[in-house]
Amino acid sequence: MNRRDFVGLTGLGATALLLPGLPGFGAQRVDPSRLLEPGADTILKKRLADAALNAAKSAGASYADVRIGRSLNQYVFTREKQVQNIVSTESYGVGIRVLVNGCWGFASTSVVTEASLAATARLAADIAKADRLVMKEPVQLAPQQGYGEVSWRTPIQQSAFEVPVKQKADLLLAANAAALDAGASYINSALFQVNEQKYFASTDGSYIDQDVHRLWPTFNATAVDTKTGKFRSREALSAPVGLGYEYLTPSANEQVYGPQGTDTVGYKLRYDILADAALAGKQAKAKLGMRSVTPGKYDLVLDPGHLGLTIHESVGHPTELDRVLGYEANFAGTSFATLEWKAKNLPYGSPQVNIVADKLQPGAVGTVGYDDEGVKTKEWDIIRAGKLVDYQKIRDQAHIVGQKASDGCCYAQSWEDVQFQRMANISLRPGPAKMSPDEMISKVDKGIYIAGAGSFSIDQQRFNFQFGGQLFFAIEKGKITEPLEDVAYQANTQEFWGACQGSCDQSDYRLFGTFFDGKGQPAQVSSVSHGSATTRFNAVNVINTARKV
């Protein structure tokens, strides 16, 4: 299933980023019980990996890595009172990357035998040799120690795959009922469960076994007024998370109430889908009668479930070094934050802006122990007091910026795809002083509070962007006054972050995330989270998106 199929099946999708990544037509679907089978053990994987590495070296590789991958996914789709589909997929195979005379070659196969892996390694070497004549910049790999035999697992309390399918379907159906009872005309809901079993081995001497889990419950509730022909939707305020099924166990401690007058609830590491669905049904219906926004300049107060997407697009992507260098020029674009731009020490934002890259953050969907070229992950600063201080890098880029090590940002969406640079969890540090969203709003004279991620678009160098949201509320003289619709804001990245007036404190901090961040050719998706607290931006241009057809 690709993203388009997913959107078609579920009616969801406005907050999913970019591109497809799940298995397509005729995908390898399996029965749910098989998802609990352990798969090949590490002894067998090591033997297979060594067969590939030895074949690669014999074929002339100066470096090689092998990824034996088993991806397990289960998706439960429902609409209104019925289960639409329960899809269990399994994908098992091996991707082999080799470096021959300074050229990369990659090949993958679903036939997992020592002979097949050796042949696939030789094919990868042949591809590298074919490209040697047109290679101008030989690859330089940052040195990487071998870790020997190590392992890592997402710290989950309960694997979603161990929960009976009926229990999961019943939960979604209960959420649907809650939304319908509260005023929705229709609702589509879905539960995504992902388990990546990844075994990595390289000629550096690493044999890394990882067990990665992710979960995403979501829905889209729609209210229809048949008399006027108007329809409005409100999507779930959940986030994709690097957690187990415990995410779906509500906890009052993990709820964050929105500002007075908004009737919104945000969620940290536990999510109450029933409460959120009921609220969504009510709010979708209320959207049918809201006032259309008057365009102009407003101070924006953005909740973390909204701001995460803005961070993703305007900071996460432009600070990926491959974009800065031009490797994405044909597809996802380049970046305004070039090496020359950074050398001038130009401000990225106001001094209140401190942004961190983090592959270790608990609960985040981009969190792993090691990346897909055998680098142990870490946390590091990207923007400090409004100044860009570093990029996100992988092994073959570090030397370009005078560094000697990768940041551990290499990832492939499956065994059959080549690994390349992907975004770390990129988050805005919360403000140092105690401040609630209500206190922040009390100081705004004319503004708009926005909750939840909606429409999103940014140019190929990450200057000009436009974002919508799920819920919008007018702020007048320090108070929320009424809900609004047809709101989108347009800004330039540097001006926007330069207008940042500060964030609420850690108690308001929570994660936004995506399963579908697209990049690369062939296009791949990756999962990434973005944390922040509610944050204020002054004098941002708001447009009215209402049109007549």
Binding site: V224, T226, S455
Partner: protein
Amino acid sequence: MAILSQTEAQDILKKVIGFSTADECDATLNGSLEGNVRSARNSISTAGAVDNVSLAVTSYFGKRSGTATCNQFDDATLRRCVQRAEEIARLAPESPEYMPLLGPQTYQSSPLSFAASTAGITPDYRASQMAASMQYCDSKKLSSAGFLNDQAGFVAKRNSKGLEAYQRTTNLDFSITVRTLDGLGSGYAATDFTDIKNFDAARLTAVAASKASSSVGAKAIEPGKYTVILEPNALVSGSDASLLAALMRSFDARAADEGRSFLSKKGGGNRKGEKLFDERVTIYSDPTNAEVPDLTFSGDGRPQQRTTWIEKGVVKNLYSSRYWAQKSGIPDLPSPGGFIMEGGTQSTADLIKSTAKGILVTRLWYIRPVDPQTLLFTGLTRDGTFYIENGAIKFPVKNFRFNESPIIMLNNLEAIGRPVRLAGNLVPPLKIRDFTFTSLSDAV
């Protein structure tokens, strides 16, 4: 083993159906061999090959169904796969939207969907095409980033009601972005083929290079409503959302009948039969079209046939699931793989000559829905945006953000050019009046 013949594939599927003890059984076999080369900074960045085959089996007991798969094809594995599907089917809830499997179908022949030339592509071929592209840019002192991807594949279906289908496909996609070394100019070109006999990466690179050189020194002009000439790359895309593809994906009958589509009618029902677009707009699909051959069967086994979606501006058909078609008594039409928009004989150059004042748009980017009620989308121009005056390009302009709906766009139609193949569709360049640009972008 990725490209199985019809006999090889159906032999496996016959075994699968033979192992079934369910009321109904459906099996699909799918495989492909794929190769690619990616370049940036006038050098190869990655290159790869993928070989994969999979079998999916769906079993039915009454209104209950279950699906399992495998990717090994010995008898024991196939038998286990069928048994697993049946175990899930026995445990699954009944579906109120269950539809019996289709019986034997007649599919049109589409031999042009597969070309031996494309299936025979080697790593050396890919490298040589990319080399020619990069050498052109080297000679012009320009920097390029490109992508070449080729695929040969097959899909085979069989079910216990006697349905049988098989088709092979090939495809090659190539796209190239050329930038000036100072980063102030950028141009783009893209193409795709079923048969690579006419593919020439260097020729296409020259188009992108010309745009890159010409786009240096872009001037800022005020955003607002402009007459635009949208080249085919600005209307459809193989790598991003696109205005025309988004329009065609919104022709779902159920969404329209349920009141959550621009095709919903006030008071209930849908707008099939209404004239919603300029009368020069005719869009259809045809899997046997020689220029854009496609699969002649859908994922659930329904035949894909020539279908008119918009005729002279009137909505003629909506696609739907088999369940919704039966429930609402409408034609049982699957959604198409690609579409064909009828056009005229004018080239993009001809459209420019007939334009007093306007803007030429090479490509649109990051197109996202803003309002599903009006099918409003936002996005940006990219890789070659030029001001036209008195029938000629006068100067490059800075990129714009647009907020526009393809419904409005296809009502503000000034002229339609000659269709070309892009991303498996046939799309003409369009001249549109009052296209809404809402802000400027500094991006090059």
